[in-house]
């Protein structure tokens, strides 16, 4: 029940995303190309954050002499 509603809501959000970025007008394989590009860029950003953000935070705290 709730899963069905959730699926409908997600489906509607995907539809809005297709409309706003004009992917609605493109053929399915073009949508796949664009979506994979977008997801790979987002995945790379998340991975970079996962690797480097703790180091940056420690450096900042070290600079402000909050922690040694």
């Amino acid at each position: 029940m709730a899963l069905g509603d959730c699926w409908k809501q997600l489906s509607w959000f995907y539809y809005q995303y297709l409309l706003v970025t004009a992917l609605y007008m493109l053929e399915p394989w073009e949508r796949t190309v664009f979506n994979s590009l977008l997801i790979s860029v987002a995945a790379m950003a998340v991975y970079t954050g996962y690797v480097f953000v703790p180091q940056h935070i420690m450096a900042i705290l070290n600079y402000f002499e909050v922690v040694q």
């Binding site: 509607w12 809005q16 297709l18 409309l19 706003v20 970025t21 004009a22 992917l23 609605y24 007008m25 493109l26 053929e27 073009e30 664009f34």
Partner: protein, 550 residues
């Protein structure tokens, strides 16, 4: 100024000082004319003085550009694939022998056509297989290769509500009783005229039509032509030439622009409906004269339209007339969409603003929209129309109007004027006005951005984003409503819209159905961009014309 009607002919009483309201009989119905601001200001009370062209929120503009940018990038990608040969090219291409010549298909319009229009062109040029009345039938067609080719399934989509046809008074009908005179005239005169007006096809029917048009408008004389576009483009060169100045509105129709260019006159464009811009140009033209010699201009012609078809805005006629008189210019008014559709008795914008029709030098209009026929007319003083009869390309070379079409215009005009003995015409004019007010009020309430004057039956709903335009058209067809959506070449690239043309033949249940579906589709596609505060609906309660209530 007060107008009285006798036998369907409107007579102007000039120099009448009205400081109190007067009951006037028009076609058997009482019409109150109140002049609040003193005698002869020429401003109608019911006309709202401001026509907002509301701007969408910033994020809408950003996303529109984003959408176009993305599709353009993919367009370049697909062009590359076609050039390399990985993909079959369906469009016209230059032959290999010509590859050293100047390329034919590289400009932006062709790029746009190949990569944006072709993808979604199932929303345009839909074939219709019935009368384009308030409801019509469409032929179902599907495409197997993403709209490069179509095939018909053989089925029709019946009873689609038609909100795209220019059928303002509902005269596009196939009711046998109404079309009796048309059938009789066809049997009498045939269908082809086989000549031009000046040679041997000046039928008595044409003269009857021209007399009727002149009476309808309250002018001295008129001339009718077979094609509305040709009326503009072929007659303007007869009126102005080299050494004249044309001041044309920004959003004028292609026929006016073509006529102006063909004439050889100097053309200057003023901002849409902007009187300051027009006045500045007039003053500058009179002070400086012609470009190099500084001689005075032979003629200054201001070209405007009654209702602009893409915006639904109405021209500011009283102000333009004041400017015209002050600076001694001439006015050309193109009433293609407004004749029959606005004004209490359907006489167009001159009646809407309560001004004397003889003040406008050249009144032009078409029979395509409100009269359900085809063709156009030019009306004005007798000397003007006689000159046009002798000197216009359209009058000399173009084939005359066909008899059934002429009779259709005659019967429609007689119906509007009430000369056929009933009140069907005036009922339709009022029904259209009521439909217009209701539809616009409900749309504003729902939160859509619409352009144009509250009295104009042309209602554009702004959609902005290219994918939403396409999704809108498809969704509405799925719900059996046929809309016309317009995109780039006809409108600015960021202001794509859906244009609704209301008709007197639409009943209230039909409009309610359309509005209900619009509401649903608007929510589904997130089209309600308006940030106006929602006022209550005073105009629906304060109506004074309850004549057509059942």
């Amino acid at each position: 100024m007060a107008m009285t009607a006798a036998n369907g002919i409107l007579k102007q009483h000039s120099k009448q000082k009205n400081s109190r309201s007067e009951d006037v009989k028009v076609n058997g119905y009482h019409k109150k004319t109140q002049v609040k601001n003193g005698p002869g200001t020429g401003v109608a009370n019911s006309l709202p003085r401001h026509e907002p062209f509301e701007q969408a929120p910033m994020y809408v503009a950003v996303m529109t550009y984003l959408g176009y940018g993305l599709v353009t990038l993919f367009g370049y990608f697909r062009d590359f694939l076609r050039a390399v040969g990985l993909e079959k090219c369906h469009v016209a291409q230059e032959r290999s022998e010509q590859k050293d010549f100047v390329p034919l298909y590289q400009d932006f319009e062709n790029f746009y056509n190949r990569n944006l229009y072709m993808r979604v062109r199932d929303n345009w040029n839909r074939p219709i297989c019935s009368l384009p009345g308030p409801v019509f039938d469409l032929m179902e067609r599907i495409s197997d290769d993403y709209n490069w080719t179509f095939r018909f399934t053989g089925r029709t989509i019946p009873n689609v509500i038609n909100v795209g046809s220019y059928n303002y008074l509902g005269f596009a009908e196939n009711n046998v009783d109404f079309l009796k005179t048309v059938a009789e005239k066809t049997q009498e005169y045939g269908v082809g005229v086989c000549s031009t007006r000046q040679e041997i096809a000046n039928l008595s029917l044409h003269q009857e039509l021209e007399q009727l048009v002149a009476n309808f408008l309250g002018l001295e004389s008129s001339m009718a032509f077979g094609m509305g576009f040709a009326t503009n483009s072929m007659n303007i060169p007869a009126l102005v030439g080299k050494g004249c100045l044309i001041l044309s509105d920004e959003l004028n129709h292609t026929s006016l622009i073509l006529g102006a260019r063909l004439s050889g006159a100097t053309i200057r464009v003023f901002k849409h409906n902007n009187m300051h811009s027009l006045e500045k140009m007039l003053r500058e033209a009179i002070c400086s004269g012609q470009p190099r010699t500084h001689r005075p201009w032979k003629k200054i012609l201001i070209m405007v339209e009654g209702i602009y078809s893409m915006e639904g805005s109405v021209v500011r006629l009283p102000e333009i007339l004041a400017l015209k008189k002050k600076y001694k210019a001439y006015l050309y008014l193109d009433e293609a969409h407004s004749i029959g559709a606005v004004g209490p008795t359907g006489r167009g914008v001159t009646e809407l603003f309560n001004v004397n029709a003889a003040d406008v030098d050249i009144m032009m209009g078409t029979f395509t929209k409100s009269f359900g026929a085809c063709g156009g007319y030019i009306a004005g003083k007798k000397v003007l129309v006689d000159y046009i009869r002798r000197h216009s390309h359209s009058a000399i070379y173009a084939t005359a109007m066909s008899p059934p079409v002429t009779e259709q215009v005659i019967r429609a005009m007689k119906c509007i004027m009430g000369q056929d003995g009933g009140d069907e015409g005036i009922r339709r004019v009022r029904q259209l006005a009521e439909n217009t007010r209701y539809f616009r009020a409900r749309l504003k309430e729902m939160g859509f951005i619409i352009y144009g004057n509250d009295d104009s039956p042309v209602v554009p709903i702004l959609l902005y984003m290219p994918a939403k335009v396409v999704a809108f058209a498809r969704e509405m067809l799925r719900r059996k409503i046929g809309v016309v959506v317009v995109g780039f070449p006809a409108t600015p690239i960021t202001e794509a819209r859906a244009r609704f043309c209301l008709s007197a033949a639409h009943t209230r249940p039909m409009l309610d159905q359309v509005l209900h579906h619009l509401n649903e589709v608007g929510d589904m596609l997130c089209l309600k961009f308006s940030r106006r505060s929602l006022a209550p609906r005073p105009d629906l309660e304060d109506r004074t014309d309850f004549h057509t209530e059942e």
